[in-house]
């Protein structure tokens, strides 16, 4: 199993009586592509933060790629996230004043840097080329590139450390239909090619046909129902 949640409870330390997330049992097999949808405020980002190790569950077992995240220290979870999880947001995926290459290198640096710099640069260039980013744009600050280009560079950045799990949090919301379809095909083929487990969160149901499984958040999280 890529993801295995058991009796997970989460409440923010500021509001210890308000359970934001309550998951009895939920799992995602390896290499499955899951589409999660739900209204905002239903605990979506909390779930993603738990899975990426940004947050620690108040109770229960959170196991990602066979690793019990709830048993790791803060520093270990940061390291685990850098090495095994790719993350794409709706926007602000890149440091605006760095160029694409530096943005991707930076992500690689936090993985522990066991790879040789020239190897990484080769991989970055190959990836950028696959995503139709012309070499003329590689040295420009990403803020000067188009949103479509930025989102494709964001996938490259998420892929650089060869993650086994990719979390995409409404990555297409800021894209126009053309760019969106382009983005989705690229993302799906890449996930298939690298045998990546994909967790895709969106409220755009028209994208659901790309996925193996569609999971409404209300089915996963029982805390929303009781509220």
């Amino acid at each position: 199993m890529a993801i295995q949640l058991k009796d997970v409870h989460f409440c923010y330390p500021e509001a210890p009586n308000k359970t934001v997330l309550c998951i009895k049992n939920w799992s995602v097999p390896e290499q499955e592509h899951v589409f999660i949808h739900g209204p905002s405020g239903s605990g979506k980002s909390t779930l993603l933060n738990l899975l990426s190790g940004m947050l620690r569950a108040t109770q229960g077992e959170v196991s990602v790629l066979g690793q019990r995240l709830d048993q790791l220290s803060n520093r270990q979870r940061d390291k685990f996230r850098a090495n095994h999880i790719g993350y794409i947001f709706q926007q602000f995926n890149l440091i605006p004043y760095l160029n694409p290459i530096d943005n991707i290198r930076l992500a690689n640096r936090f993985s522990g840097g066991k790879t040789i710099a020239s190897d990484v640069d080769n991989r970055i260039e190959t990836l950028l080329a696959t995503f139709n980013i012309p070499p003329s744009e590689w040295q420009k600050p990403v803020a000067r590139l188009s949103i479509g280009q930025q989102q494709r560079i964001a996938i490259t950045r998420a892929m650089i450390n060869k993650p086994e799990l990719l979390i995409a949090d409404e990555p297409t919301s800021s894209l126009d239909p053309d760019n969106r379809d382009n983005f989705m095909t690229k993302l799906m083929s890449l996930a298939k090619e690298h045998r990546i487990t994909l967790l895709f969160v969106s409220h755009d149901m028209s994208l659901s046909h790309y996925f193996d499984r569609i999971a409404p958040l209300s089915e996963i999280n029982s805390a929303g129902a009781s509220r």
Binding site: N74, R75, D78, F89, I95, Y97, D102, L106, A107, R109
Partner: protein, 413 residues
Amino acid sequence: MFIRLASKSLLNRKGSVLLTLMAMSVSIFVLLGVEHIRHQTKDSFNSTVSGVDLIVGARTGSLNLLLYSVFRIGSPTNNIGWETYQAVASNSKVAWSVPIALGDSHKGYRVMGTTSDYFKHFRYGQKRQLEFSAGQQFSGIFDVVLGSEVARKLGYTLGDPLVLAHGIAKTSFSLHDDMPFKVVGILETTGTPVDQTLHVSLQGIEAIHLNWQQGVKLPGRRVDREQLNPQALEPESITAFMLGLSSRMATFRVQRDINNYAREPLSAILPGVALSELWQMMGLLENTLRLIAGLILIAALLGLSAMMLASIREREHEIHLLRVIGAPPLYLFLLIELEAILIALTSIILGLSGLYICLLTAGDFLASSFGLHIGTNIFSGDNTVFLLLIIGATIIAAMIPSFSAYRNAKASL
């Protein structure tokens, strides 16, 4: 990559960073400038006289005696008799003595009557002897030896005639124009008041005052220059004299003997002690300057801290992103610290080069207008300590925004 991230981030915020940089540079310029000038002034101050064991004048305060005899500032309270000078100079513990007679001037520069022993025994700086850049010391009654600045400013060369004025005012109407002097020597630059002095023999001083009484020229009495006999021109009184002792151990005994001299009230001072007393008086001013320079630096550092703190708010997305790609909160803390240190280092480079250029261009002006010889070597040991202190203070000031970034990173979701 870490430094690259920090520097690119600073470049991305050019406007506010540039202003902070300027504030820091100016404050570092002021701080190091004050320190440097203070050191150099103290050095040049303490090097005005050396190798002289005692300075003796009429009974007065030690500062007054030092100021008029060495710095040619202010006026002597009284003269001392020639017999008194000879009595003290003949003391067996005295190795050499140099009499000084002040009171005349030339175009605002003071004239000092003395003997040829002055050139032999007077020392400045690290026991350096006076040296001639042209000519030699005076031998005739109407010979004059110029300090380097006098010669340069007034454009005199060897053989030029000049007329002394009575009194020390810048513009004097009572000139000794009946007895012109001739330039026979010009001294090398010393960086001391010697540069601003005209040196003549005691006989010369006597000669120009022969037809004077009570500071007024007597009409109708003319002196024939040709008939003057150097031996007959023994001065009646002098202003002060310098003593070199055969043994430095005897300094305090001789000083006490002179202070207790029965026939005339005298004061003997140790130049080193008087110099440090004088310097202590300036200590208040000096400390005020340092305090102001320090406060300017603190203000600049607070500005830096405020600028960085404001930037944290704009950079919330960036901080979140760094967290997601695996940066621990400590990384964010260090990133902000590094940005502050980069600003401090750049400011130090700017401040130092500004100071260096200023010293280079203003050095001549300071030397000629104030007699201040400021070296351009700003990398003295003390300044290195100051630079480290500035970096340290920057690190402390940047703690506030860095901690804010750290907290932001911890809560970043």
